[in-house]
């Protein structure tokens, strides 16, 4: 029996003796209980999540809120549970932006898919009410350090309204961190690709129609937002009101430089500062994005370059390019079960120029800022939510990522999942 298995066993044991309420094998562990006693993690390497250097120190949190972060230990109250973090790493809980967690269970099984409503314009559909806290997928993602997710609808031109959820909840109302945080627009590809002149013209028309239709929608929405008192209720425009009063962000999904330019200019016309989701070519339009203060949810580094002549590692190196150009970005991979690999997508970026703490920032502080929850989440700072985890090694590397403890709002999270249960079940069968 080798070392890592022992570690896993040890965690299971620790959880069993008191940190988690119920560890009997089950597909979805029960959520943790409210924090009742202060917890101090001492002598731990703290990755603050704001991009600044990690340091060894102590973090104390109570009633779900961080009360102390410092290089030196603070005075603990008598009832403080002290966790020795020597040689370990403490990170803010990672945030999976643009995810379908809880909306989709089994990709190929239609009955388990609630991520894509029919129709092209659906600003009024709300992902959070379909969010299934008992999804078997969620705990498997959580086990790798992901604590929060933006639950995002897909499809059509205006997919709907996303919400931010914490991943350890009894039901969607408990899970909600920020309801209806944003509206998601899928920007059409604007390159005419047809060689046949007739088809090319048709494509050009379609592009123009797309922009015109979107423009009309936003004009109407803006007008409705300015004066909805005397109008009949329009559910779609009502849902878009938040864009204009600042309560909702506009997320434009696109990867192309051309589309990003068009999308940002479009949003600015309506006084909106969008977030770009995708952003594979964001480094090409850095000035535009910076001047317009547009952030980017970079969809993954584990992908192939889009152009043949691109460097083989351009996707791996894009985060470093964005950082160098001063664009605010976070890293995600989209989808659901695959979100457990976002730490490694960021890890890969560090092999191609991104500094380590920037990589951590791209999963934590930057994500929280983009989702508008930075006042409570995303960094390990006094006054912020105690949403953090302890890893025995480098959480951005599969050979180091080993989550020993996780807290969300101070609640100890049972980081087991159905896959660990099956591992135990069959290891036991074989006597390993």
């Amino acid at each position: 029996m080798n070392h890592t298995i022992n570690v896993v066993r040890a965690i299971v044991f620790l959880l069993a003796i008191g940190l988690a309420r119920n560890v009997s094998a089950q597909s979805v562990p029960a959520p943790g209980e409210q924090q009742s006693t202060p917890i101090a993690i001492t002598n731990v390497t703290i990755h603050p999540g704001n991009g600044q250097q990690a340091f060894v120190g102590t973090v104390v949190f109570d009633k779900g809120v961080i009360t102390h972060v410092g290089k030196r230990p603070s005075d603990f109250t008598a009832n403080t549970v002290v966790v020795d973090g020597s040689g370990k790493q403490l990170y803010p809980g990672f945030i999976a932006v643009n995810s379908t967690l809880g909306l989709r269970e089994i990709g190929a099984v239609r009955a388990t898919r609630d991520n894509n409503e029919t129709g092209m314009v659906n600003p009024n559909v709300r992902s959070i009410i379909a969010y299934n806290t008992d999804s078997r997928v969620i705990p498997t993602v959580r086990s790798n350090g992901i604590a929060l997710a933006q639950i995002t609808p897909q499809g059509g031109v205006v997919s709907g309204s996303s919400s931010v959820a914490q991943l350890d909840a009894w039901n969607w109302e408990d899970a909600t961190v920020k309801a209806d945080d944003g509206i998601h627009v899928n920007w059409r590809r604007m390159t005419v690709t047809a060689t046949d002149p007739k088809q090319a013209k048709r494509q050009q028309q379609q592009i123009e129609e797309f922009v015109a239709a979107l423009n009309t929608l936003f004009e109407e929405a803006q007008a409705y937002a300015a004066d909805s008192e005397d109008r009949q209720m329009d559910l779609k425009l009502e849902a878009m009101k938040g864009l204009f009063d600042g309560s909702k962000r506009l997320f434009i999904h696109t990867n192309g430089a051309k589309e990003m330019t068009a999308g940002v200019q479009f949003a600015q016309k309506f006084g909106l500062t969008p977030v770009i989701v995708g952003g594979h070519e964001a480094h090409l339009v850095a000035n535009l994005l910076k001047e317009a203060q547009v952030s980017v949810v970079l969809m993954g580094t584990h992908r192939l370059p889009s152009r043949s002549e691109d460097a083989y590692n351009l996707p791996f190196a894009t985060p470093a390019l964005l950082a160098e150009k001063g664009i605010e970005f976070c890293i995600s991979s989209g989808g659901d079960w695959g979100q457990r690999n976002i730490p490694f997508e960021a890890g890969t970026a560090t092999a191609h120029g991104l500094s380590y703490e920037q990589a951590v920032h791209s999963l934590t502080g930057a994500s929280a800022a983009i989702l508008g929850i930075a006042d409570s989440y995303g960094t390990i700072e006094t006054g912020k939510s105690a949403t953090l985890f302890l890893s025995s090694g480098d959480a951005l590397d599969p050979i180091g990522n080993n989550i020993e403890k996780m807290w969300i709002d101070g609640r100890a999270v049972n980081i087991r999942n159905k896959q660990v249960d099956l591992f135990d079940k069959f290891s036991e069968k074989y006597g390993h």
Binding site: N2, H3, T4, I5, N6, V7, V8, E105, I106, G107, A108, V109, R136, V137, T140, R189, T191, V192, T193, A194, T195, P197, A257, K258, T261, H302, R303, L304, P305, S306, R307, S308, E309, A311, Y312, N313, G335, D336, W337, G338, R340, N341, F344, G347, T348, A351, H352, L396, D397, P398, I399, N401, Q419, V420, L422, F423, F426, S427, Y430, H432
Partner: protein, 1011 residues
Amino acid sequence: MRFIALIVLLCLSYSLQAQETFKYNGVHQPDQHVWYIYNATIVVSPDKVINRGQLIVKDGRIEQVGSDLNLPAGAIQVDAQGGFIMSGIVDARSSFGMPDVPPQQWEWEEPNYDPQRMQPVGWNDAIKSSVRAADIFTPTEKEAETLRSFGIGAVQTYNQDGIARGTSMVSLTGNGRSETLVVRDKVGAHFSFNKGTSEMPYPNSEMGSIALLRQFVADADWYARGGNNVEFNASLQALQAQRELPWFFEAESYRSALRASRWAEESGKQLVVAGSGDEYQRIAEVVQHDDTWILPVNFPAAYDTKDPYDRRWISYNQAKHWQMAPYNLRIVDENGVEFCITTSGCESPKEFWKNMRLAVEKGLTQESAIRALTVTPAKVLGVSSDLGTLEEGKIANFVIWSGSPFTSDASLHQTWVGGKQYNIQDMKVNLAGAWNFKLDCMQQIEFAGTITNTKKGYAFEIDGVDSTSSKSVSISVSSGAIGLDIHGYCKEDSTAHILCSGFMSGNTIRGLSHMPSGETAEWVLSRSATDVASIDEQEAETTAKPDVPAYRVPLHGFGQTALPKQEHVLIRNATVWTSGPAGVIENCDVLFNNGKIVRVGQNLSASGAIVIDGTGKHVTPGIIDEHAHIAIENGVNEASQASTAEVRIGDVVDPDDLTIYRQLAGGVTSSHLLHGSANPIGGQSQLIKLRWGQGSEELKYTDNDPFIKFALGENVKQSNWGDFFTVRYPQTRMGVEQIFVDRFTRARAYEQAWKEYNSSGKRGTPPRTDYELETLLQILNSERFITCHSYVQSEITMLMRVAEQFDFRVNTFTHILEGYKVADKMREHGVAGSTFSDWWAYKYEVIDAIPYNAAIMHNEGVLTCLNSDSHEMARRLHSEAGKIVKYGGVSQEEALKMVTINPAKILHVDNSVGSLEAGKDADVVLWNGNPLSTRSLALATWVDGKRMFDIEQDKQLQQEANAELEELLNMMAADNSPNKQKAQQEHNHGHGCLDKHDHAHPFLNTQVEKK
């Protein structure tokens, strides 16, 4: 014009009575025309040119050609006006008079696995070998006219539908009843990889087409050896008869063409390949096969580079091909490859001749061009005695140009077909000479002058008038009418124009004029002296041959300019992960030379070796991806039948796939290319090394144990294919088992039939060679090994039990995501597991997939490896192995083995690859850190000791590639052709295939449901 009208009338009557056996209406009018065409440069054959020659045509054939032939009595004279005469084009690739082949359009309906044809032909509707072009030849004058406008006098025409297309014929392009046009029937047998209008699912991939052709040839042999006593089959009968004919093949790329060539060589045939114009890209291989080619000149248009956003999507491959395509014919020619030129692919004569001129400008000699248009096709089609040159006795097929067709201002005046004259563009009326003009009116106008023929038109020099005078005459000719615009002769108004129009007869032009006053008046222009030769002599345009631009192989920015050489390398003081008995050694050296590892150990030295300081670095064996679909072209899945054991991935390896280079950058050196998982018994696998730059055959391992792909579960029972796919057996896991039992039972019976035949002294009709059953028999005899796509424990156990029932062992379960549930059974059976690190939740059968799977299988003693099944993830297999440390606590050394020595063992090639041990292939990767870490990257990758990737060279390559591309794009920007192509954004299939609910049809889309 009158003359031409008469010709048309003559032609009509001529053709009606041309056939001896035909009854006729009216009075008999024999065809006995004699023509005397004079005053031309005559290209008798590519190497024989007569200046100022004459041509005598009699009864549709060349009677005589020479430079001082007398005018025969009763000959009709044609003044070629100093023009250029050569043989009409013989186009070996045409569908003249053949039925239209509508492009196949998928309709959403249940696929039909049975043939639609009711005739006694073969089982597959794409095999149309019994079609005879002459039986279905129904030409129209409209088609013929178009062909003649290119200068084509004869074509090889055939039914361009199906994989086997039957026989072709050679036809003239004249206007007449079809039987008068046939020069030769059953000229050649035609093939392609395109199933055309057949609606049967099989084949839906290029490898399926190849397998179908291979079986078809074998069946025809069997038919000839007694199979005809077993069944009647018109398709097989036809192919057997076509054995003696030349075989023609239509291919859509040079790669497909070479595949066709290899198939034909198996059948003992050379091909005539209708190529695509990219043959220069692997000219050495083209030369090796010694086929004859039919090549197009439909060069790609330049791309539109105006939009800076879109410009970026033009790839080096596209831009470079735009530059190189006009050099293709020259390169092919200079390498001694025999070729014909076809007009097919060119929309118009204008495009065709513009491109021919471009090819000549790029260095194709005019002689080669003419040969490829005339002599070679005639030879290839076996009609040299009738066509291809203007030698005496041949069919009078020739064209009259105003000058050499390879000069830009030449125009084609007449195409003669079978001794009949067809006007294409009026010859310029020869007005050269001294003329007197006279106009009768109130005010009589008279003057004299000299007309000269110019390239653009005519010039009229009025006697006694200098260039400063306002007096002038301009001349235009349109539809036979001659127009004059006379300026400065009106007495009332010296600025007025007098417009005249008239017709010419002999040396007189008469007509009517419109005076500024509104009157009309008659005029006459009479020639007092002629100068026949006044058209400017064509000056030979002698421009220097341009250099052929350098290009990369493959034609990518990251292609090779020269193949890397084997290096003699000593890496010093690194952490060496041997994946062998020596384990992981710190401060260790690795020495390799001549493609092999010489030693692994401490304090090595070697004189002459490149020494690399490995301090702080790591060295591993090259990564082996046990499950890949890279470098496969035109279909990964032959998704049609439940068993397609006869198809071979090895037939369709694509050495130009850029993914090869990108994966080398991730340390991958070998890939096991698998068929997809659309059917229980898929196709045969191909193991390759990533020898970037080399040809498809050179990528392959040789003498390794062959493998085949099997599959179980949702994909093969078509669970996620949509509601129409509920017809094919099997639809349940129960049926999947029965497919295996059935096919293996048949394979045993097949073996028995051969044994009996062989032991009975080979009497009677031999059993039919069946490539599907042969392959399955290899499995039964442990000569071929199964890699089986699998997920759930029930089916995994099932296949092991079926194998045991037939007394063999399953070699590998791939995916095997529930392998952990039956790991003990797997160990007992002796099967290996090749799995993903952490994939799950994409379909129902992976609901219990766990990332601890590899660890449990490994701990239970199952030989375990990790694979990518992805163009992208293979680049990170090293850190995918790292996940097995995380999930289940396998040691780092064992984790790395899961992507090195373990896959080598699973593939039975651990004697040569998979570990760093003396004597093994020098497939070596140098890393900047722990190879299992997502935070490390490969610095260099050697394959057989050749440095195929180097991170510094890569940076240089990127710069070079982008600089070359930029230069090409600037050249394109300077190109002022009106119809530019739009850039095509490329599609990556790098994201695996988790969610393949796209709406593509599985038989048209070859990337179906791989996972």
